[in-house]
């Protein structure tokens, strides 16, 4: 694993927080994401994080 479970948990939490706040920020620039789009971004983000954390491709560079 590329990172520790604790760090992964925190990264996922931060990702969720960013998605929630970013939706508001984007709206100030007239970029309006619907709730579903927000959820989709969140799921894709978490999936990418999980892939990054568990993929053997990366674990070679593990310190």
């Amino acid at each position: 694993m590329r990172t520790s479970p604790a760090k992964l948990l925190i990264l996922i939490a931060i990702l969720l927080v960013i998605v929630v706040e970013l939706r508001t920020v984007l709206a100030f620039f007239d970029v309006e994401l619907t709730v579903l789009q927000g959820i989709a971004v969140g799921i894709v983000g978490i999936a990418l994080l999980l892939v990054w954390a568990f993929s053997p491709l990366f674990s070679e560079s593990d310190q």
Binding site: A6, L9, I10, L16, V17, V20, R23, T24, F28
Partner: protein, 590 residues
Amino acid sequence: MTDLFVDSYPKQARVVRSAFLTAYIALGIGALFGVLQALHRTDILRLVESPTYYTILTGHGVFLVITFTIFFLVGLYQWAVTDSLGRGPVDMRLTWAWYGLMSSGTLLAAIAILAGFLDDPPTVLGSELSADVLFTFYAPLQANPIFYVGLVLFVVGTWLAGADWFRTWWSWKQENPDARIPLPTFMVLTTMIMWYISSIGVAVSILAFILPWSLGLTGSLNPTLTRTLFWYFGHPVVYFWLLPAYLLWYTVLPKLSGGRLFSDPLARVVFILFILLSTPVGIHHQYLDPGISDGFKFIVMTNTMFLLLPSFLTAFTVVASMEHGARQRGGDGYFNWLQALPWRDPAFTGMSLAGVVFAFGGFTGIVNAGMNINYLVHNSLWVPGHIHTQVGTAVALTFMAGSYWLVPQLTGNRLVGRDVALVQVVLWFVGIVFMTNSMYRGGLIGIPRRSAEPQYDFDYEIAVGSIPEIRAQLAIGGVLLFVSAMLFLVLILLTAFNDDSEPIVDGTIPPALSGPEDSPRVLDDLRVWIAIALVLVAIAYAFPLANIVSRGGLFGPDIGPFPVVVETVASVLSTTDTGMYLEALVETES
């Protein structure tokens, strides 16, 4: 590893444990009320009638920002003074006396508040037992005298606690005449100075005006005056919540990061700035109050912006200490050192996330503090958004995280469920962002705070998303927070009963990188700072108070208590929502 606190100071550990226990009970009830509000306001689940919402809201405010925070504070400060001076109080009877006073005060206030749930509350001291006045108890809202008596006992208890710590320090000083005040004790003493200077305002407001009025001794009062006295105290009280969290950030957080505090002198300067700057700014809560001239409000706004300084200094010092710790643990690079921090430790992670939320909430505080933009957010849901990022997370989450570190030292038991504890603090972080983001957004479009029925039938000019979505997000956040609070309480409870275990925690606090010897001794001369603070208070408040009194009179332009006028108002308004609430109020009256 050194001796545990409970082994070195068993008697003091008992006081600290008792104070924490009271705080945790308040947190449990407060969190329950919180989730009830979140679900009620959003019309998702209504377990009570809407008039009872205000009983719950009063309980939520009082139990969380008075009982939970301040009981945790006195426990933490008792620990800090004992640990840093290496000695107990001069006389433990005084210590138990303040704990007893604070507890009995809390009990009285709680009885008055919770009586609001009764269909037919008893009459006590000449009026019905209830206190649906919210934690700000603005006149002409009137509570039963028991509520105010409870508040007074509580505050007097905190005064005695301060006296106890000053006395302990004084006798330590006799034995160590040339030593600098240890940093944690310095923080305790400066916080208490700020508290003495400011809480006198609320004491006068209650003892001279509100209590006699609720007892029927005086016929009326001047609401602008009592509000101004309240907010004279009400702004410093937010630092009374925050400074114990700062104490943990300055002393424990660097240690948990694996390093030492970056600068002890800077920490002292920060606490002194709070003595000086926190009191002359209370009027910034009254930008929309009539009866105070704009000129004073403008001066207060300027003062308030200066208050950002100590918080920026804190952010700098604490992050620098964390970076130092991370590099001690082998971290390197511009940002890579972040990875070397002990993220698995719930105490560390909880405090760090609390700090992140605090920074974010600080910016929303700048919005509140701006006189013109305040008009946009005043009394809207934005304000509870701000409250929950600051005291509801920066403070509350730090206290929970700090408990994971302290409770094992106070009980001698190993923390149960360290990994669950990590999930708990992370859950709070996510929950608070869900809830406060929806509150901020709702506030910006004008959804009111302090309302059981905020969904009046007009169309809000919604900027982002939709009203049902904002409501759902608020409710989800509230539920996550509630679950997180319950997890916390269960873990602490299990830890308290985890008898046959050895804690794995090291209670020593390493000295700062730059110690007190790097700073002038005048920093420790508390008399100087008290004197300057008093002058600033006089400058900030003499004119506005004189103005208010000369205009409205000391005992006011004949203002009767609120429920008395209700009956007439309710019959006029009976078709509206407000009328329905007022009517329901009258029903509970009779």
